[in-house]
């Protein structure tokens, strides 16, 4: 069941994020900003669910870290956008990410105990893997604004640490 969950999660996020890549000229800086901000907020929502449902200390610690770190990165993104006088642009990719996350949250909410913990950990690993790959291979190379590119690079460093942490959590929960 965990394997099916992981495959499903990978497919959903892969399709959502590659949608951004499939656009004719690639996403604009402000569309990238919206997608990245949305992705961070969605991980915070997953984390809040974990904080409400899990009793596993490792899961709770990870979830708390997700809330803290993604909120910090998003705050910096907002500060940069304000400085640049720019607004993130909503787009189909952000909307698909949000819709898919809503579905995933409902699935996770139906799980309990160790089944929830394992599913949450698996989802975090898959989510971070795809987001990181997209940020590194598509968003950063295609971002025009130097400051925004730098922030994405710093955010990627944070998210790669999260990915490794999620992988460790998955192994621990097997």
């Amino acid at each position: 069941m965990l394997k099916k969950f992981l495959v499903t999660t990978t497919a959903i996020f892969g399709l959502a994020l590659t949608g951004a890549v499939a656009a004719d000229d690639g996403p604009s800086d402000m569309q990238i900003a919206h997608i990245a901000y949305t992705a961070g907020n969605l991980d915070i929502r997953y984390a809040h669910l974990a904080l409400a449902k899990s009793t596993n200390p490792a899961v709770l610690e990870f979830a708390q870290l997700m809330v803290q770190d993604h909120a910090a990165v998003n705050d910096q993104a907002l500060a940069l956008l304000k400085k640049l006088g720019a607004s993130p642009e909503d787009n189909p990719t952000s909307q698909k990410l949000t819709a898919d996350a809503r579905q995933k949250l409902n699935e996770l909410a139906d799980l309990h105990g160790v089944n929830f913990d394992r599913a949450y950990a698996a989802n975090e690993l898959a989510y971070h893997k795809f987001v990181n790959k997209t940020v590194e291979k598509t968003f950063i190379p295609n971002t025009d604004n130097a400051e925004f590119k730098s922030l994405l690079g710093q955010a990627l460093t944070v998210f790669k640490v999260h990915e490794n942490h999620a992988a460790m959590m998955v192994r621990t929960l097997r």
Partner: protein, 112 residues
Amino acid sequence: MPIKNIIIGTLLCIFGGTATALSMSAPVSMAYTVEITGFKFVPETLTIKLGDTVRWVNVDAAPHTATAEDKSWDSGRLNRQQSWVLTADKRGQFKYICRFHPIMKGTIIVEG
């Protein structure tokens, strides 16, 4: 005693005392900086003298701490661009971590 000798003697005492005071003044403290960047403490190991100061400055997007493993000091949460200064008042080797991201490790060695 001629007044001139008294004056000269007094001046010698004043300046002699001042020179002595200067030569016996406390050693100058050094100020060091540890940059928290890329989920690392840079430099990872820092050797300083008693009385020196260390300033941790976080340039990462994520918040971090600098927390001694023996719990003797803790910077508390440092958001991006925030910093915290520690004055070395005890000799020893102090291993420390980031409480939020314990993979991050550093060492302060205090000599003197």
